[in-house]
């Protein structure tokens, strides 16, 4: 399976193994937005065709063109570091970029810098909670010193396996840290938005914090069993019994508020 590239007068004709002919013109005046699907087998063919594309792009004025290479690879040499910057799913070795995942190769060309090459898989990549990431967790147990949680979502991607986290007493609020009572901030079963401050020790779990206005309890159930409505940053009220309970409530982002 070889890809042949013929270049003449700035027009590149690429024939692919499956007899698909794709014409690319990149003259100055025309804005070309063209998905190109090529199955490329040998490395040198890859570099020739990519270079050709790049030459065409240099001729045209700063077009943002995304070229998709339908190249499913696993540790295949993609290109050298002079041509592209490695993105996700790739690694660098001996001055060449290799793929570390099985998926589709995506090459994004934006502006003057070198294009970024990355390998993507459609299924969500398994994210690990990283320092500074906002996570959604569920409180499992509380203690006068800390609250133990199960991390369910990292950002907006759900995790397949639950990771454990800890919210220490001094990380619940930003102000009056010593006067915090865990019992008045969280209860078991609450859904909490928190931020990862550290991956923790060998012995401990992920360390989380809710010491920001936008972090804290999002969903909580009252002792009567109904879902509570937040009243202020430290209180929630049950709609059935109208009893108020103490929680460290997260402030709703303005874009989610319905006027």
């Amino acid at each position: 399976m070889m890809a042949h590239v013929f270049v003449c007068d700035g027009i590149a004709l690429t024939t692919v193994a499956r007899q698909q002919h794709i014409l690319i013109t990149g003259w100055a005046a025309e804005v070309v937005r063209f998905p190109v699907f090529c199955v490329i087998h040998a490395l040198y063919c890859c570099s020739i065709s990519l270079n050709t594309h790049r030459n065409l792009l240099e001729i045209s004025h700063k077009i943002c063109v995304r070229i998709h290479l339908h190249l499913e690879s696993r540790s295949e040499r993609l290109c050298s570091t002079e041509d592209c910057i490695p993105g996700t799913g790739t690694y660098l070795r001996h001055g060449y970029i290799f793929a570390s995942l099985t998926g589709y190769v995506l090459r994004k060309n934006e502006g003057e810098e070198l294009p970024v090459i990355s390998v993507v898989r459609e299924t969500e990549t398994q994210l690990l909670p990283d320092v500074g990431a906002i996570v959604t967790c569920k409180v499992t147990s509380i203690n006068p010193r800390f609250a133990k949680v199960h991390i369910l979502y990292v950002g907006s991607t759900p995790l397949k396996d639950r990771f454990r986290g800890t919210i220490r007493k001094e990380d619940v609020r930003a102000t009056e840290k010593d006067k915090v009572e865990t019992y008045k901030s969280f209860r078991p079963g609450d859904i909490v938005l928190a931020k990862v401050i550290s991956l923790g020790d060998v012995q401990s779990n992920y360390l989380l914090t809710t010491a920001e206005n936008e972090l804290g309890v999002v969903v909580a159930h009252s002792e009567a069993g109904a879902q509570m409505v937040p009243i202020s940053w430290c209180e929630m009220q049950c709609p059935r019994t109208h009893a108020k309970e103490f929680r460290k409530v997260a402030r709703v982002q303005p874009e989610y508020l319905q006027a």
Partner: protein, 270 residues
Amino acid sequence: MPVDTKRIRGPEESQSPLLFLSPDKAPKASSRQGVRGNGEVRPMFARCGLISQAKGSAYLEAGNTKIICSVYGPREIERKDETDMKTGRLVCDFRLAPFSCLKRGAWIQGSEERDLSQTLLESLQPGVCLHRYPRSQIEVNVMVLENDGSILAHAVTCASMALADGGIEMYDVVLGCTLRQNGKTCLVDPSYSEECGSWQEGYGENQGCVTVALLPNLNQVSGLTADGELREDALADAVRSCMDGCHKLYPVLQQALTRAVKKKAPPPEK
């Protein structure tokens, strides 16, 4: 040594049915002359993505050897004292199903299986980018459904296919190949009868088995197991033949992985 106490052994006079097999049905070392040459590997069938609950899975058939592998992870490490902050851990579990060999095996992992698990772990570890998964563990479970020779080599190949299918970042796939040296002849990818049949002929020079695990694109050997008595030059030749065998398997693997990726999702449209 844990013993299976739940099985009913049968009365004391009972004997294994294998003793009563008629001679033509008994498995004997079949010659490969008609079917394949000494240096050829058996045609392989590989598929990914069979087990839906696992993160990644692969099924491999080479001749009559059938191996299935599933990958789970990255998960939180269960035993806290083994947590490594900088890198992840790879946990391998190699099992032979009780019905896989001629003689019925036990469900409890025997010492040979534990040995093979350790070798499998050592072969796969250089291939996986563990530094991208700090504080987590990736579990690889390999089950041999039918043992017809060179299970370790095919298990390595199957496990790396499953890891690739599961989206675990790897430097390269790890391929395995076995060679059986029988005096002057070397047989690549031996079947079960070829692997252990010749022990009955007596211990001569150059009687042994070599298994090599290779990273093809980087051309690095990640695992080497040799058993028996082999001369130095014979061993070097054996390793080289195994590496050639591994390279021959690579296109099949690529095809299987490509197919799995295409089945999961169509190419991104933009």
